[in-house]
Amino acid sequence: MLAFAPFFYVPLIGLAILSPGVQLARSIKLPGQRLTPAQFVISAAVVCATAVVAAAIGLWVARRLLAWRTTHLAAYLTNTDKG
């Protein structure tokens, strides 16, 4: 089951990062019209900023998770390494 988790889990993270910019774009564009270049740039900048924040949070949480799972991971990886 976990082997298939990335197919759902990773695009959902991508969508979550895109969401603020997409929602902003939908709220500022006129109905039935395309985004103007300025509106597109603002929305893209919001997505870029969200991605940078997500990267910082992701790395920080990954370090906390690693600290929490160190003992378990060491035992598991040692067994794996020995085959």
């Binding site: 976990l2 082997a3 988790a5 990335p6 197919f7 759902f8 889990y9 990773v10 695009p11 993270i13 991508g14 969508l15 990062i17 895109l18 997409v22 270049p37 597109f40 740039v41 893209a44 900048a45 997505v47 870029c48 969200t50 991605a51 940078v52 924040v53 997500a54 990267a55 949070i57 992701g58 790395l59 949480v61 990954a62 370090r63 998770l65 690693l66 600290a67 799972r69 160190t70 378990h72 991971l73 060491a74 598991y76 990886l77 040692t78 794996t80 390494d81 085959g83």
Partner: protein, 179 residues
Amino acid sequence: MGAVPGLRRAVVSEYHRVVRPPWEIPTALVTNGALMVAAWFLLPPRAHAFLFSLNGPLAFPVILASWMMADTPATNVMGSSPALALSVLEDQAAYWRWLAARCIVIGSLIGVACAAGVMYVGLGHYPWSEIVWACALVALLPVGVLPMAAWLGIVFPTTRAPCVGAGSTAEPGVATYGG
């Protein structure tokens, strides 16, 4: 394998690993990219609208970037290289460098491919400002996604079981979970 060196050398080392057999990362990226392209162009409109919430030509490379990451190379950081993972377990800084190097390498591969897609779709049809920002977006999206995607592999690392006949009764190539 020794401890992970500085970030720059860690990135170079990861690039070396990527371009050598078994080409796990390039294979997964290309396969997922091909599946997404097929789904984008071949699905009927209702299924397309259900699967892809964004529409429009510039949405294509952005969603492609997100889909290309959706596989175990992005999530299974610890299990993909047990020896290296063991070497960084006790050193948080080394682990951070290794994870960051992996994110940079995978992100750069996806970013370059999708930025090329943006250029192809956008040149001649969109203003330069939109093309440049769309390129920045597809380059930065993997950087945001990959560290979070790695959480799963830390909590539930997966490894390939050794082949039958090498002292194991497991089926060849079956993933095993450390949860």
